[in-house]
Amino acid sequence: MSTSDRDAVRAIRGGDREALVHLVQRHQGRLFGLVLMMVRNPAAAEEVTQDTFVRAYAHLDQYDENRPFYPWLAAIAVRLSQNWLHRHSRTTRREGTALDAAPEPLTDAAALSGLIASERDRHLWQAVATLPSGERTAVILYYREEMPVRDVAEALGVTTGTVKTLLFRARRHLHERLEVEDSVQEIRP
Protein backbone atom coordinates (compact mmCIF):
# COMPACT_ATOMS: atom_id res chain seq x y z
CA MET A 1 0.00 0.00 0.00
CA SER A 2 1.30 3.45 -0.80
CA THR A 3 2.10 5.63 2.18
CA SER A 4 -0.66 8.07 1.37
CA ASP A 5 -3.27 5.31 1.23
CA ARG A 6 -2.02 3.91 4.52
CA ASP A 7 -2.17 7.32 6.15
CA ALA A 8 -5.67 7.90 4.85
CA VAL A 9 -6.89 4.53 6.10
CA ARG A 10 -5.40 5.17 9.54
CA ALA A 11 -6.95 8.63 9.65
CA ILE A 12 -10.37 7.22 8.76
CA ARG A 13 -10.02 4.55 11.42
CA GLY A 14 -9.14 7.32 13.84
CA GLY A 15 -12.44 9.03 13.08
CA ASP A 16 -11.34 11.49 10.38
CA ARG A 17 -14.02 11.02 7.76
CA GLU A 18 -12.52 13.71 5.52
CA ALA A 19 -9.56 11.42 4.86
CA LEU A 20 -11.95 9.38 2.75
CA VAL A 21 -11.81 12.21 0.20
CA HIS A 22 -8.20 11.30 -0.53
CA LEU A 23 -9.02 7.66 -1.19
CA VAL A 24 -12.03 8.47 -3.37
CA GLN A 25 -10.18 11.01 -5.48
CA ARG A 26 -7.16 8.78 -5.84
CA HIS A 27 -8.99 5.62 -6.91
CA GLN A 28 -12.38 6.64 -8.36
CA GLY A 29 -11.21 6.91 -11.99
CA ARG A 30 -9.45 3.57 -12.02
CA LEU A 31 -12.27 1.88 -10.15
CA PHE A 32 -14.89 3.37 -12.46
CA GLY A 33 -13.04 1.92 -15.47
CA LEU A 34 -13.02 -1.52 -13.88
CA VAL A 35 -16.69 -1.42 -12.92
CA LEU A 36 -17.73 0.02 -16.28
CA MET A 37 -16.02 -2.83 -18.06
CA MET A 38 -17.93 -5.29 -15.90
CA VAL A 39 -21.43 -3.78 -15.94
CA ARG A 40 -21.05 -2.00 -19.32
CA ASN A 41 -23.45 0.73 -18.36
CA PRO A 42 -22.02 4.15 -17.37
CA ALA A 43 -24.85 5.11 -14.98
CA ALA A 44 -24.68 1.74 -13.26
CA ALA A 45 -20.91 1.95 -13.11
CA GLU A 46 -21.16 5.26 -11.22
CA GLU A 47 -23.65 3.73 -8.80
CA VAL A 48 -21.54 0.62 -8.19
CA THR A 49 -18.37 2.72 -7.81
CA GLN A 50 -20.06 4.77 -5.09
CA ASP A 51 -21.35 1.60 -3.44
CA THR A 52 -17.82 0.24 -3.43
CA PHE A 53 -16.41 3.18 -1.51
CA VAL A 54 -19.28 3.17 0.98
CA ARG A 55 -18.91 -0.59 1.49
CA ALA A 56 -15.15 -0.23 1.92
CA TYR A 57 -15.68 2.53 4.49
CA ALA A 58 -18.21 0.44 6.39
CA HIS A 59 -15.88 -2.58 6.53
CA LEU A 60 -12.55 -0.82 6.86
CA ASP A 61 -11.91 -2.75 10.08
CA GLN A 62 -11.58 -5.91 7.95
CA TYR A 63 -8.82 -4.46 5.80
CA ASP A 64 -5.24 -5.62 6.44
CA GLU A 65 -2.96 -2.59 6.33
CA ASN A 66 0.01 -4.73 5.34
CA ARG A 67 -1.54 -5.47 1.98
CA PRO A 68 -2.08 -3.05 -0.92
CA PHE A 69 -5.30 -1.09 -0.69
CA TYR A 70 -6.43 -1.04 -4.30
CA PRO A 71 -6.76 -4.85 -4.80
CA TRP A 72 -8.93 -4.99 -1.67
CA LEU A 73 -11.09 -2.18 -3.07
CA ALA A 74 -11.20 -3.87 -6.49
CA ALA A 75 -12.35 -7.15 -4.92
CA ILE A 76 -15.32 -5.32 -3.36
CA ALA A 77 -16.06 -3.65 -6.70
CA VAL A 78 -15.98 -6.99 -8.53
CA ARG A 79 -18.42 -8.55 -6.06
CA LEU A 80 -20.80 -5.59 -6.22
CA SER A 81 -20.62 -5.58 -10.02
CA GLN A 82 -21.48 -9.28 -10.08
CA ASN A 83 -24.43 -8.58 -7.78
CA TRP A 84 -25.56 -5.81 -10.09
CA LEU A 85 -25.33 -8.12 -13.10
CA HIS A 86 -27.43 -10.72 -11.29
CA ARG A 87 -30.06 -8.17 -10.36
CA HIS A 88 -30.30 -6.71 -13.85
CA SER A 89 -29.94 -9.84 -15.90
CA ARG A 90 -32.31 -10.58 -18.73
CA THR A 91 -30.96 -13.98 -19.59
CA THR A 92 -29.14 -16.65 -17.67
CA ARG A 93 -26.24 -18.51 -19.10
CA ARG A 94 -23.40 -20.59 -17.78
CA GLU A 95 -19.93 -20.60 -19.25
CA GLY A 96 -17.85 -22.93 -17.11
CA THR A 97 -16.88 -20.95 -14.02
CA ALA A 98 -18.75 -19.57 -11.07
CA LEU A 99 -17.85 -16.09 -12.22
CA ASP A 100 -19.24 -16.63 -15.68
CA ALA A 101 -22.50 -17.79 -14.18
CA ALA A 102 -23.29 -14.10 -13.71
CA PRO A 103 -25.72 -13.28 -16.51
CA GLU A 104 -25.20 -10.25 -18.69
CA PRO A 105 -27.46 -7.29 -19.31
CA LEU A 106 -27.60 -5.79 -22.77
CA THR A 107 -24.49 -3.82 -23.68
CA ASP A 108 -24.88 -0.11 -24.13
CA ALA A 109 -22.17 0.04 -26.79
CA ALA A 110 -22.86 3.61 -27.84
CA ALA A 111 -22.59 4.90 -24.29
CA LEU A 112 -19.38 2.96 -23.76
CA SER A 113 -17.86 4.15 -27.01
CA GLY A 114 -18.56 7.75 -26.10
CA LEU A 115 -16.16 7.46 -23.18
CA ILE A 116 -13.19 6.37 -25.32
CA ALA A 117 -11.61 9.00 -27.52
CA SER A 118 -9.36 6.99 -29.84
CA GLU A 119 -11.04 4.87 -32.50
CA ARG A 120 -8.40 2.16 -32.27
CA ASP A 121 -8.79 1.97 -28.49
CA ARG A 122 -12.56 1.96 -28.89
CA HIS A 123 -12.37 -1.13 -31.11
CA LEU A 124 -10.26 -2.90 -28.51
CA TRP A 125 -12.64 -1.84 -25.73
CA GLN A 126 -15.58 -3.17 -27.70
CA ALA A 127 -13.79 -6.45 -28.34
CA VAL A 128 -13.01 -6.79 -24.63
CA ALA A 129 -16.56 -5.75 -23.75
CA THR A 130 -18.01 -8.65 -25.72
CA LEU A 131 -16.01 -11.23 -23.76
CA PRO A 132 -17.86 -13.32 -21.15
CA SER A 133 -17.83 -11.56 -17.78
CA GLY A 134 -15.16 -13.79 -16.21
CA GLU A 135 -12.71 -13.39 -19.08
CA ARG A 136 -13.46 -9.70 -19.32
CA THR A 137 -12.84 -9.04 -15.64
CA ALA A 138 -9.66 -11.12 -15.61
CA VAL A 139 -8.30 -9.20 -18.62
CA ILE A 140 -9.04 -5.81 -17.08
CA LEU A 141 -7.59 -6.69 -13.68
CA TYR A 142 -4.50 -8.39 -15.07
CA TYR A 143 -3.60 -6.12 -17.97
CA ARG A 144 -5.01 -2.68 -17.33
CA GLU A 145 -5.00 -2.78 -13.53
CA GLU A 146 -1.65 -4.64 -13.62
CA MET A 147 -2.64 -6.86 -10.72
CA PRO A 148 -0.67 -10.12 -10.27
CA VAL A 149 -2.53 -13.37 -10.98
CA ARG A 150 -2.76 -14.11 -7.26
CA ASP A 151 -4.53 -10.81 -6.54
CA VAL A 152 -6.81 -11.27 -9.54
CA ALA A 153 -7.75 -14.72 -8.22
CA GLU A 154 -8.51 -13.25 -4.81
CA ALA A 155 -10.63 -10.48 -6.28
CA LEU A 156 -12.61 -12.94 -8.39
CA GLY A 157 -12.88 -15.58 -5.68
CA VAL A 158 -11.33 -18.30 -7.89
CA THR A 159 -8.02 -20.17 -8.03
CA THR A 160 -4.94 -18.88 -9.84
CA GLY A 161 -5.33 -21.76 -12.31
CA THR A 162 -8.81 -20.56 -13.19
CA VAL A 163 -7.49 -17.03 -13.75
CA LYS A 164 -4.83 -18.35 -16.13
CA THR A 165 -7.49 -20.30 -18.01
CA LEU A 166 -9.72 -17.23 -18.23
CA LEU A 167 -6.82 -15.14 -19.56
CA PHE A 168 -5.90 -17.80 -22.11
CA ARG A 169 -9.48 -18.02 -23.39
CA ALA A 170 -9.80 -14.25 -23.43
CA ARG A 171 -6.65 -13.80 -25.53
CA ARG A 172 -7.87 -16.42 -27.99
CA HIS A 173 -11.28 -14.75 -28.30
CA LEU A 174 -9.70 -11.31 -28.68
CA HIS A 175 -7.33 -12.53 -31.38
CA GLU A 176 -10.27 -13.94 -33.31
CA ARG A 177 -12.38 -10.81 -32.96
CA LEU A 178 -9.62 -8.34 -33.72
CA GLU A 179 -8.51 -10.33 -36.78
CA VAL A 180 -12.05 -10.24 -38.16
CA GLU A 181 -12.28 -6.54 -37.44
CA ASP A 182 -8.90 -5.79 -39.07
CA SER A 183 -9.88 -7.73 -42.20
CA VAL A 184 -13.15 -5.76 -42.40
CA GLN A 185 -11.24 -2.48 -42.10
CA GLU A 186 -8.84 -3.51 -44.86
CA ILE A 187 -11.76 -4.12 -47.22
CA ARG A 188 -13.22 -0.68 -46.50
CA PRO A 189 -12.20 1.99 -49.09
Binding site: R17, Q50, L112, I116, R144, R171
Partner: protein
Protein backbone atom coordinates in the same frame (compact mmCIF):
# COMPACT_ATOMS: atom_id res chain seq x y z
CA UNK B 1 2.18 -3.87 -31.19
CA UNK B 2 1.18 -7.21 -29.64
CA UNK B 3 -2.17 -7.92 -28.04
CA UNK B 4 -0.45 -7.95 -24.64
CA UNK B 5 0.91 -4.45 -25.22
CA UNK B 6 -2.39 -3.16 -26.56
CA UNK B 7 -4.26 -4.51 -23.55
CA UNK B 8 -1.72 -3.03 -21.15
CA UNK B 9 -2.11 0.34 -22.87
CA UNK B 10 -5.90 0.11 -22.88
CA UNK B 11 -7.02 3.52 -21.63
CA UNK B 12 -9.49 3.94 -18.82
CA UNK B 13 -12.72 5.62 -19.86
CA UNK B 14 -13.03 9.07 -18.39
CA UNK B 15 -15.12 9.31 -15.25
CA UNK B 16 -18.03 11.59 -16.22
CA UNK B 17 -18.04 13.46 -12.88
CA UNK B 18 -16.38 13.56 -9.49
CA UNK B 19 -18.10 11.12 -7.13
CA UNK B 20 -16.52 12.45 -3.93
CA UNK B 21 -19.45 14.49 -2.67
CA UNK B 22 -21.93 11.67 -3.38
CA UNK B 23 -19.78 9.17 -1.53
CA UNK B 24 -19.36 11.51 1.45
CA UNK B 25 -23.11 12.11 1.59
CA UNK B 26 -23.80 8.39 1.63
CA UNK B 27 -21.17 7.81 4.28
CA UNK B 28 -22.79 10.50 6.44
CA UNK B 29 -26.15 8.75 6.03
CA UNK B 30 -24.50 5.48 7.01
CA UNK B 31 -23.00 7.07 10.11
CA UNK B 32 -26.37 8.55 11.09
CA UNK B 33 -28.01 5.14 10.79
CA UNK B 34 -25.23 3.61 12.87
CA UNK B 35 -25.57 6.21 15.61
CA UNK B 36 -29.35 5.79 15.84
CA UNK B 37 -30.12 2.81 18.13
CA UNK B 38 -32.40 0.13 16.77
CA UNK B 39 -36.00 0.26 18.06
CA UNK B 40 -35.49 -2.95 20.07
CA UNK B 41 -32.53 -1.39 21.83
CA UNK B 42 -34.77 1.46 22.94
CA UNK B 43 -37.32 -0.94 24.45
CA UNK B 44 -39.82 -0.32 21.68
CA UNK B 45 -41.72 -3.09 20.07
CA UNK B 46 -40.50 -3.76 16.54
CA UNK B 47 -42.83 -3.40 13.59
CA UNK B 48 -43.32 -7.00 12.47
CA UNK B 49 -43.17 -10.49 13.93
CA UNK B 50 -39.95 -12.46 13.80
CA UNK B 51 -39.54 -15.80 12.02
CA UNK B 52 -39.87 -17.65 15.32
CA UNK B 53 -43.14 -15.86 16.03
CA UNK B 54 -44.43 -16.72 12.57
CA UNK B 55 -43.45 -20.37 13.02
CA UNK B 56 -45.15 -20.50 16.40
CA UNK B 57 -48.28 -18.89 15.01
CA UNK B 58 -48.40 -21.44 12.16
CA UNK B 59 -47.99 -24.36 14.59
CA UNK B 60 -50.75 -23.04 16.82
CA UNK B 61 -53.01 -22.49 13.84
CA UNK B 62 -52.45 -26.05 12.67
CA UNK B 63 -53.17 -27.47 16.11
CA UNK B 64 -56.29 -25.32 16.42
CA UNK B 65 -57.47 -26.34 12.96
CA UNK B 66 -57.03 -30.03 13.79
CA UNK B 67 -59.06 -29.64 16.96
CA UNK B 68 -61.66 -27.52 15.16
CA UNK B 69 -62.16 -30.13 12.45
CA UNK B 70 -62.52 -32.88 14.96
CA UNK B 71 -65.12 -30.91 16.93
CA UNK B 72 -67.01 -30.03 13.75
CA UNK B 73 -67.18 -33.66 12.70
CA UNK B 74 -68.38 -34.68 16.11
CA UNK B 75 -65.33 -36.72 16.88
CA UNK B 76 -64.19 -34.51 19.71
CA UNK B 77 -67.17 -33.08 21.57
CA UNK B 78 -65.14 -32.15 24.56
CA UNK B 79 -61.83 -30.26 24.56
CA UNK B 80 -59.94 -32.65 26.71
CA UNK B 81 -56.81 -34.70 26.67
CA UNK B 82 -58.81 -37.81 25.97
CA UNK B 83 -60.44 -35.97 23.06
CA UNK B 84 -57.07 -35.12 21.63
CA UNK B 85 -56.10 -38.76 21.95
CA UNK B 86 -59.26 -39.78 20.18
CA UNK B 87 -58.59 -37.32 17.38
CA UNK B 88 -55.12 -38.78 16.93
CA UNK B 89 -56.54 -42.28 16.84
CA UNK B 90 -59.13 -41.18 14.32
CA UNK B 91 -56.54 -39.68 12.01
CA UNK B 92 -53.80 -42.25 12.15
CA UNK B 93 -55.05 -45.23 14.04
CA UNK B 94 -53.64 -46.14 17.46
CA UNK B 95 -50.25 -44.49 17.69
CA UNK B 96 -48.23 -41.96 19.63
CA UNK B 97 -49.42 -39.12 17.40
CA UNK B 98 -51.94 -37.62 19.89
CA UNK B 99 -49.28 -37.38 22.51
CA UNK B 100 -46.96 -35.79 19.99
CA UNK B 101 -49.58 -33.28 18.86
CA UNK B 102 -50.45 -32.35 22.42
CA UNK B 103 -46.82 -31.96 23.35
CA UNK B 104 -46.19 -29.90 20.27
CA UNK B 105 -49.11 -27.59 21.02
CA UNK B 106 -48.02 -27.11 24.63
CA UNK B 107 -44.46 -26.53 23.53
CA UNK B 108 -45.62 -24.00 20.95
CA UNK B 109 -47.68 -22.19 23.58
CA UNK B 110 -44.70 -22.02 25.90
CA UNK B 111 -42.43 -20.88 23.12
CA UNK B 112 -44.88 -18.24 22.01
CA UNK B 113 -45.29 -16.81 25.48
CA UNK B 114 -41.54 -16.77 26.04
CA UNK B 115 -40.95 -15.07 22.69
CA UNK B 116 -43.50 -12.33 23.13
CA UNK B 117 -41.56 -9.11 22.85
CA UNK B 118 -41.29 -6.52 25.53
CA UNK B 119 -44.24 -4.19 25.09
CA UNK B 120 -42.67 -1.35 27.01
CA UNK B 121 -42.20 1.79 25.02
CA UNK B 122 -39.50 4.35 25.27
CA UNK B 123 -40.15 7.31 27.49
Amino acid sequence: MTLHDRLRALPAPALPRDLTSDVLTRVEQLERRRSTPAPEAQGMRRAGPSRAEWATAVLLALAAAALGVSIATGQLPLMSMSGVFRLGNLLTGPSDLPLFVTGLALYALGLFSSLRPDRRTSP
